[in-house]
Symmetry: C2
Subunit: 211 residues, 2 copies
């Protein structure tokens, strides 16, 4: 995004590798806590000077936003992918459960949800991106559930948007528990229990579950 690549022919050649800096910032923010990772530390880890970083990203907010974009492209896209596999209600929920609870990359939680949890600490650019991604996720969950409803795969009584909200928050909770070092098996059980409300019969005795 914002491909500032007019390739100036004059001037001292740049040695700063923006992608490398982004990768380092990504792991620093992701593995630790975004709010506890300072610009100074990112510079130290990347072996660059602070003015170089500010020239490239403008501000801490700009660096965080760019990092979140990288994360979105590289990780969140997988979650959206799961929602679009068309594996049906049961299969897709199982895919979400498996990804959230046991995927190795999420061992330290989800950067997006870490940022969302500390939204008030973010700069305006990053906060706006977080809100955009949150809305997009809500949209994707809702589209998934709507397709299940249309296919007769989900007959629950909840409105689609409320159920989408619930689904998203349960997945977020699982990621947060990953970040706190909870046992993946327990997380899977809990998320499975939370999402069982979609696949289990309700009070209506004339309906029957499939499983």
């Amino acid at each position: 995004m914002t491909d500032s690549d007019p390739r100036p022919t004059r001037g001292r050649p740049k040695t700063l590798d923006a992608d490398k800096v982004l990768n380092i910032a990504l792991t620093a923010y992701w593995h630790g806590d975004p709010a506890d990772t300072s610009v100074n530390e990112v510079c130290r880890l990347a072996g660059i000077s602070k003015p170089s970083l500010y020239r490239e990203f403008g501000s801490e907010d700009g660096l965080m936003r760019a990092t979140l974009d990288t994360y979105s492209d590289r990780v969140l896209s997988d979650v959206f992918g799961i929602l679009e596999t068309g594996a049906g209600l049961r299969g897709t929920l199982d895919g979400l459960i498996e990804f959230a609870s046991t995927d190795r990359r999420m061992e330290t939680g989800c950067l997006f949800y870490k940022m969302r949890a500390g939204k008030h600490r973010l700069g305006p650019q990053t906060r706006a991106r977080v809100e955009e991604l949150d809305a997009a996720a809500q949209e994707a969950y809702a589209a998934f559930l709507q397709s299940c409803r249309d296919a007769g795969d989900w007959t629950g009584p909840q409105p689609v948007d409320a159920a989408a909200r619930y689904l998203g928050e349960q997945v977020a909770l699982a990621f947060t528990q990953r970040a706190s070092g909870e046992d993946p098996d327990r997380i899977r059980d809990m998320l499975g229990l939370a999402l069982s409300v979609f696949t289990v019969v309700d009070d209506d005795p004339k309906r029957k579950t499939s499983r």
Copy 2:
């Protein structure tokens, strides 16, 4: 706790009201974010000097621990109270749902869960208290569920401790959503949906729900 009240007869009389400071710190930590509330700000709000605060509480960690104890006595006790009313499975869960989603005092979330969410930022004393309270809550949830099971009021297939964990995390999620300004009605619906797994029939066709 640690009633340092030998009432020295000598010396300049103290003007610092520890309870007043604790109340101010409580609302500051609770209404805002514990990690974003500095000792300087508490002093400013309380109209006292920093050395006075440090003489009374020893450190920021000591102040936070004392504040958490105050919160525990004054607020968390209500949650434990709900679990001990003996209102049965349905009644107690409804009590939890109502308290977590609509109690006015929880409009800005739960201080305990805010602290737990940022546990790595806490000092050793406060962190230890958080862990104690976490264990006590887990214990209380488990005792409640066990009593429901003994009374034949809950026939779910989950182990008691796993279900207690699930229950506690769902309540915590509701508090967190309150803190983020979510609509209480939506929170009630979501928490109700999450806890419906305890009162709804499972796959076994020979069992029947009560509701």
